[in-house]
């Protein structure tokens, strides 16, 4: 290696080292400035978690109001009246998945088990938070209670009518719901 290469090589290395150090310093200063600014704004800003909690709170309050009549008739075991009230809500709020939960509970309490399981499945598929115990929407325990009670009856029915496709489908859906309610990473 000639002296020119040696000198130029060392100059290039020194230049690169200085440039690298400068860039690291500039990046660090920019990040710190940005971090300080974000910290100052923290009081005004709402974190994602708080936002989510607020959203859940509002939703629960709204649902409580919407389903007030359904809940009242259901509590008094006036299932026909509850069904009418639910139908009215469904017409006004067709996208609210809680209707499916009430539908399932009504069907379950009027002995329509197969329909109840199907409604529970649609409810859980459209709103997984119903079975997520980390959210205030969680009602997994009451769903599980209904499923456990239904299972015994369905198994009995299946023994009596082994070729009944409707019962087989309901049993499959019930087992699916049990797996969903059990949790896991899905």
């Amino acid at each position: 290696m000639g002296i020119k290469d040696k000198l130029f090589g060392s100059f290039l290395d020194s230049f690169t080292t200085v440039a690298l150090t400068l860039m690291i310093a500039i990046t660090a200063v920019m990040l710190i400035q940005h971090g300080t600014a974000a910290h100052q704004d923290e009081g005004a800003a709402v974190s994602g978690k708080e936002q989510a909690e607020k959203m859940y709170r509002q939703r629960l309050e709204r649902d409580k109001k919407i389903y007030q009549d359904v809940e009242k008739f259901f509590g008094q075991k006036q299932y026909a009246a509850a069904q009418d009230a639910l139908q009215k809500v469904q017409e006004e709020h067709p996208d609210n998945p809680r209707s499916l939960i009430y539908q399932a509970r009504l069907q379950y309490n009027t002995g329509k088990m197969v329909d109840a399981i199907s409604s529970y499945r649609r409810a859980v598929d459209s709103e997984p938070d119903f079975i997520d115990n980390n959210t205030p929407l969680f009602i997994g325990k009451s769903i599980m209670d209904d499923l456990t009670a239904s299972k015994e009856k369905l198994v009995r029915e299946k023994r009596l009518r082994p070729k009944d496709k409707e019962i087989k489908k309901a049993l499959d859906e019930l087992l699916y719901l049990q797996r969903r309610v059990a949790g896991g990473c899905e």
Binding site: D132, T135, Y176, R179, A182, G183, G184, C185
Partner: protein
């Protein structure tokens, strides 16, 4: 006085991994999913906005711990060796398909063992599939289907994956706006950050030291009747079983199992894919993460393939739900098997020609 004989390091690693995973579920991680590389990668892909399911978006500190634990242990024990350059694109795609297989089964090989340890009998078909895939892969290796040899590389290459690990750690603490975190679903189910990180670092360090690998342990046992790593695999199962029994998480049977489905044929095929791909790339998904931390650039590339796979598994629905495998997942599994067999066949032919 006779000296006290210490248990083998792979058994220690297995015990810590199995028990640690169940303990993580007790302090917040999803049931039966205390440690699952494919689930963690899906969560990571969501956090980085590579997939759009907010419920599956969280940087799992355990994953960062595995990489950094392995890195620190390799540096400390002078085993940080930077190698790479072996069939990069093939490894990337095999990493991709390994996660597809995991997505269709709903879990990586570690989660499969954890599920079995918790009494989930739906994982038996997957175990049989994994064993078959590894056995088949072992046969192909014996017949000469081996990827190109890795070569020594400049050290900087080995620092890239641990560097990304550090970056993810920074993201975890600084929470920049472009990193997403879900507040419901699996993303919200997590152990406290420090506990996850500590367990991750411990397991990462031990796994680097022992070389524990689910598929590697079974492969070595099939090929050479070598039991060192295999005993570690058994230790994962036994410790997970013990802790599940003691903590009341054990539920023997097929029904009401969390994150499971009853399509046993697809569970079997999905794990054949994982076993076969893992034998070709020389390590299960967990081992790839550990190797990436110790300077193996090929494993690093496989990890990139796995992250891409994790993102696509959610976005393209190449997976199963509790209802069973989605059509796209079935096709992807079959494509993965076709890809593996094509690679094996072409490498075998190339070797025969040479």
């Amino acid at each position: 006085m006779s000296r006290l004989k210490l248990p083998d390091i792979s058994i220690v690693t297995g015990v810590v991994l199995g028990a640690g995973a169940v303990l993580l579920t007790l302090v917040g991680n999803p049931v039966n999913s205390g440690i699952c590389i494919s689930c963690f990668l899906e969560n990571l892909a969501g956090a980085l906005q590579l997939q759009d399911s907010l419920r599956m978006s969280y940087i799992r500190p355990e994953l960062v711990g595995f990489i950094l634990g392995s890195f620190f242990m390799a540096k400390q024990s002078r085993r940080f060796r930077v190698t790479g350059g072996s069939s990069p694109l093939i490894r990337f795609l095999l990493g991709f398909f390994m996660i597809v297989g995991c997505g269709v089964f709903i879990g990586c090989p570690i989660k499969m063992i954890l599920r079995l340890g918790a009494g989930d009998l739906t994982a038996v078909a997957a175990l049989l599939g994994l064993l078959f895939g590894i056995w088949l892969g072992g046969k192909y290796i014996r017949a000469g289907s081996v990827l190109d040899r890795a070569q020594s590389m400049p050290t900087i290459n080995g620092y890239i994956l641990p560097g990304i690990g550090f970056l993810l750690l920074l993201f975890l603490f600084l929470k920049p706006s472009f990193i997403r975190q879900g507040f419901s679903g699996p993303a919200a189910q997590h152990a406290p950050l420090w506990i996850s990180l500590a367990i991750g670092l411990l397991i990462g360090g031990l796994a680097q030291r022992s070389g524990l690998c689910i598929t590697g342990g079974i492969r070595n046992f099939f090929l050479f009747r070598e039991k060192t790593l295999f005993s570690g695999v058994v230790a994962i199962f036994v410790s997970a079983l013990m802790v599940s029994l003691v903590s009341g998480q054990f539920n023997l049977g097929m029904e009401a199992q969390p994150g499971a489905h009853h399509s046993h044929l697809w569970s079997f095929l999905a794990m054949v894919l994982v076993g076969l791909a893992a034998v070709i790339v020389d390590g299960c998904p967990f081992r790839q993460v550990i190797k990436a931390g110790e300077g193996d650039v090929d494993a690093g590339l496989t990890c990139f393939g796995m992250v891409t796979g994790a993102a696509m598994v959610i976005t393209w629905q190449l997976r199963s739900t509790s209802a069973g495998p989605v059509f796209n997942g079935k096709i992807a599994t079959l494509l993965g098997l076709i890809f593996c067999l094509t690679i094996i066949l072409s490498y075998r032919k190339a070797r025969v020609k040479r």
